[in-house]
Symmetry: C2
Subunit: 372 residues, 2 copies
């Protein structure tokens, strides 16, 4: 029986069936063949791949073929600036940074500041400007190569994007957008047009290089719908179809589903201090443990349901250590409190480093920006 769940670019809720998403979205598993090819090229696999956090793709095999032939490809990901960055946002960026490092690829980092402006009634461009600045600090803190990373705001860079967005728009009618995005006649026209702008960075590599150049988009699977549209129009307007590599969602503290800034106390923000992180995890992280210590010792916990354990799969690099924790928690040897302690420590260690790099980002921000 499939439980009810929703995955759109604007809403993720319920108990997500990732296998069903693969079927519904018409994408492919990151299977062992792809992983072997990848390992041959990169000399190792990021633990996000081994742990199937990046679990699905489209045309990623073609990107690997390009790389094998020594051909250039670009990376493209993005961040819509409407609030602070939380740990869930970082997941695709961390993986993108790893890909950039392994393949020496140029990264186009889109800040679609108009997206949230258009979709959120009370959000002004003043707000998006403020959040764009804050969010870009987090992006830079992830460690991207300054020489190979171009960050741009749609409203600033539109002079280089609008023409191509119109080419996408000409191929995209209202019926298609209604069925893809669940929009209706009461939605504003910017909400409809926006996806055309999200397509453009997938084509900028070809425009920038002056020849057909492929693009790989690492992102969470809720964004796939935009790139299905991008793929549908690409060839017809003279561009190669972009590839995607798609991640699961980092669960929210209490909710499961997807960590979300808009649900209070479900998100750990990159600027949270040690105590805040500790309090949030201790108080809200959904536990896979039993009701009493006696029960827990007897039957063991359920790491698959435990949000703290899930966080470790995203942020604890050491797979042996993680395996030990899994076993100890499952056997009942480790209690929820102990698991949470470890998680607090791992997250805080990660954030301490991130926050230092975030401070340093203030001095180099303009080096990353494609203004204009």
């Amino acid at each position: 029986m499939t439980k009810d769940f929703v995955v759109t670019p604007w809403e993720v809720k319920g108990d997500i069936d990732y296998e069903k998403l693969i079927r519904d979205f018409g994408v492919k598993h990151v299977d062992s063949k792809v992983m072997q090819e990848m390992e041959k090229l990169t000399g190792g696999l990021h633990y996000f791949l081994k742990r199937k956090i990046f679990f699905a793709h489209m045309y990623f095999d073609e990107i690997l073929n390009e790389a094998k032939r020594g051909n250039k490809f670009y990376l493209y990901t993005g961040r819509a600036p409407s609030g602070p960055v939380h740990l869930g946002h970082l997941v695709p960026w961390i993986f993108t940074e790893w890909l950039q490092d392994k393949f020496g690829a140029t990264l186009l980092f889109q800040i679609p500041d108009e997206e949230k402006f258009l979709f959120k009634e009370n959000l002004s461009f003043g707000d998006t400007d403020k959040w764009a600045y804050e969010n870009i600090l987090d992006i830079i803190a992830v460690g991207f190569d300054k020489k190979k990373t171009k960050i741009f705001l749609d409203t600033e860079y539109a002079g280089h994007m609008y023409k191509t967005a119109c080419a996408v728009a000409k191929k995209t009618n209202i019926s298609t957008l209604k069925s893809l995005f669940g929009l209706n006649d009461s939605n504003n026209v910017g909400e409809y047009f926006y996806t055309c702008m999200q397509s453009v960075p997938a084509f900028l590599p070809t425009i920038m290089e002056g020849k057909q150049t492929k693009c790989l988009i690492p992102c969470a699977i809720d964004q796939d719908v935009h790139f299905r549209l991008t793929r549908d129009v690409a060839n017809g307007i003279g561009f190669p179809k972009p590839a995607t590599i798609l991640s699961r969602f980092l669960p929210g503290l209490a909710e499961g589903g997807k960590m979300s800034s808009s649900i209070e106390n479900t998100a750990i923000f990159t600027t949270d201090d040690e105590n805040t992180v500790r309090n949030k995890i201790m108080k809200y992280a959904f536990s896979g443990g039993r009701d009493t210590v006696t029960e827990h010792r007897k039957h063991g916990g359920v790491p698959e349901n435990d949000v703290s354990y899930q966080y470790l799969t995203y942020f604890m690099e050491d797979s042996n250590k993680l395996k030990k924790i899994y076993e100890d928690y499952k056997s009942g040897k480790m209690l929820t409190g102990e698991l949470k302690e470890i998680t607090v420590e791992v997250i805080n260690e990660f954030l301490e480093k991130h926050q230092k790099k975030r401070e340093l980002a203030k001095g180099v921000l303009e080096d990353f920006m494609l203004r204009d």
Copy 2:
């Protein structure tokens, strides 16, 4: 009885009832009060006003009030580049040039190259680029002040427009656009979004001046629907409502309605040579004369139905001469052939000057352009 006619930005056909348009579009007559105010300010009236070629307006009285107080206002008009310029296109530009001269106003001249690209299946951006260049030569040839005229292509200038277009879009839903423009779900999303870009130049004066600055848009009445939308959203996004002053359509040679590049032999193009103009008028210009010379001498012609005579009302500045022609034609003293001869002469004299200025425009084109 009202005859059937259609006036939209994309189609003008039938026997146009301009009084009905004024009621349907909710605009006002350019009445004697407005003309008196205008005359006080400018020391004279353009014959387009006296002859009611510019016959309707919205908020034009407010523009005159601004001028009276010594406040700056901007002019804004445009040209979508999908083919050669014909005499009909020149009408609002000639009037705009007169307004610029009388008020010393800055003119924003929009070249919405994406509009025709989006609406015409087989038109490429390569085509619009070519026509943009050709059309801009005609614009400059009209005689605008280089220091006070800024011509821009939407796809080039989008970096300065897209953010404001999104502000318009946020206030504009699909239902509204369907009812204003007669679009449906099979139209592409660019056709829907485009009007937001057409609104932007009405707001650029305020953005450029850094304070609330009014804008007057001289154009043919088919464009009014765009600016109704612009007026509806203006205040809500922090801009003054634009004023419009609206013209009738120069009729097509054979068709009446509106001169159109897409109906062969109905248009006189600015690059037509003397013989072509002569042949077109002689062969195609719909005559208000009688079937035989005898009949004509007896009953006289109908200047109101005669396309050549209509052209004279647009291109013969001397009102006394025009009145004489009207009377002679109406009385039967003047035959259609004679009227056509005069028209050929007037149009060719106009075009000879225009074509010289058009050649000179090649050397100064970039001085007018707002690139970027």
